[in-house]
Every structure is written in C-alpha cells, then in structure tokens.
Symmetry: C2
Subunit: 153 residues, 2 copies
DNA sequence: GGTGAAAGAATGGAAGC
DNA sequence: GCTTCCATTCTTTCACC
C-alpha cells in the first residue's frame, strides 16, 4: 500500500463526497472494479488521514433556523485568541471557528432561528466575551455553492 | 407521519452527524429502539428536506492542500452578483460561495496547495472576474471547530 | 495490489399491534 | 406510528491470481 492516490481513488472520493451513504458495492459497479478494491482503497485513505469521517448534510431552514451569519472578530490582544475561541465554542449556535490572519483575528459561522434570536446571541453570548474588541457581521442571503476539491489528475 | 421531531429524532441526528456511516442497526442499539424505527425516522427527515444527503469529511492538508482562505468580495454593482457568482463557481479551488449583506457582497472559501498557488488563483482567476471591485482575504491559520447545531429540546 | 466468492450483517418493506 | 419478521442486498475478509 503506497500513499499515492490514482484516478480510481479520486473517482471513489467523487462518488462518496456526493453521497457518503452510497453502498461500496454500488461504487464498485459504477467504476467497474470489485467491492474488495473499494474497501481497500477507502481503508488506505482513512489510514492516510485523508478521509476523517462522514457527516449528514442538514438544511437548517427546514427546522426554522433561517439565519446564517458570519462574524469577523477583532481581539484586544492577539495572544488571547485561545481563551476567546474557548468561549466561542461554548455558544451552541456557533458551528465553525477559524483562527485567521488579515483584517480579523477570528472568523466564525453561526446559525440562528431569526434576526431576534441572532441579536440575542450576538449581544448576550458574543459581545460579552472578554478579549473581543470588535465584530463585523455578514448575513448570508443565499448559499450558492458547497462542494469539495476535485483532486483528479 | 407528523412533521414534528422529538428527542429520538434528535438522538439519531446526533449520532449520524458525527459519523454518517454508522449502520442503522447500531444506531438502534444505542438508542434502544428497533432498526425499523431508525429507518422510518430517517426517511421522515429526508422527506421533510431536513436531511439532504451525506458527505465525507476530507483533510485537504493530507493531500498537500495546506492553504484555506476566505475572501470578502465587493462588487462594482450589486445587481451583477449572479454573473460574478457564476464565474466564481468555475474556479475549482472555490468550495463555498455565499451571497451576503454587510461590508461585503459575496463571501467565499477556497483551498490551495500553498501561498504560491494561492497567489496564482487570486490574481489569475479571481481578480480577473468582471464586476469585482475589491477583495479582502483572510488566511485560516487553524480550524478550531466544525460541528452541527444540536436541536435537542 | 486486484478479484470474486462466501459467511455474516444490514437494509427496507409488509403485516400486525 | 412502532415493532417484528424476512427476503434481499451489502459488508468484509481471504485464498487465489
């Protein structure tokens, strides 16, 4: 087992990133290889750490969570970022936290039910965190694309 | 089949969002319900449009794609956003595109191999798009969190 | 490193409660 | 609307190529 991927691996990833629940037998049939090969390739890619797991895609709007907001956060001192991130992770509406360089220090994504819920979280759970100097918000009007990198040769 | 979720549904989601490939029989065992119930609940949640699919989690860094960058984009005219988004979607390094309100008009996420690759994409594939007035970039130093909303009562 | 088959496990309906 | 049952399909390993 060498750690270099070929077109077959990319094809497997391409099918499974579109639907992670596709049975391996079906993947095998599409690519005209044996089910055992799909298993071996997937195990290789898991062992490499390339495939770290699988998750469901959820449409939060169906649950009445219609607000998606990005926040660019400035810190009072950059060294404080670990504590700030710890606090941000406690807020259940926050789903992504990135430590970034550039205009902001921390960049997060959060979901709320509506603008009232958003304001409440923003004022009571975000702005109250010690070490946050300022915040700029971007409300997502529409998500137009979400996909994976296609590594194909 | 009513369209209201209960704690059992949330528990199923909680397990499957952590690992979408968990067999339903195992989900059933953990929750001490029958496999048929897991199936019925999942079908209900798919039919509702809450569960839209499943995807693999990939660690791009393992493939040598070590750069994750967010771009906040200003447009020359806000009405042009559909065309700009069309062009952004053609760039294979771009994995997410959001139309937003606030300081920027469009917000995207992209992956590249390194800073050289990034600069090339930035200058040749992003800045050349007609309708883009300006761009601010945020390089992700570290991703600290990625998860789903927990709807539990 | 791939194949294909075989034993065991999971799936996804149907019928009854 | 949940459960049990069961025929079908999938998983996973392994001897062989």
């Amino acid at each position: 087992m060498k750690n270099k991927l070929d077109q077959v691996d990319f094809d497997i990833l391409s099918i499974l990133t579109q639907d992670a629940q596709t049975p391996y037998t079906e993947v095998a049939k599409k690519l005209i290889i044996s089910p055992g090969t799909v298993h071996a390739r997937m195990r290789k890619m898991r062992d490499m750490g390339l495939v770290t797991g699988a998750t469901l895609n959820l449409d939060y709007a169906v649950m009445g969570w219609k607000f998606t907001v990005f926040l660019g956060i400035y810190l009072t001192e950059n060294t404080r970022y670990k504590q700030v991130i710890q606090h941000l992770m406690q807020v259940k509406e926050v789903v992504k936290v990135h430590h970034v360089t550039g205009k902001y220090d921390v960049f997060i994504k959060l979901h709320t039910k509506d603008s009232i819920h958003y304001r409440e979280i923003y004022q009571n759970s975000i702005l109250t965190i010690k070490g946050i100097k300022g915040v700029e918000s971007f409300i997502s009007v529409e998500q137009n694309l979400t996909r994976h990198i296609d590594f194909s040769i």
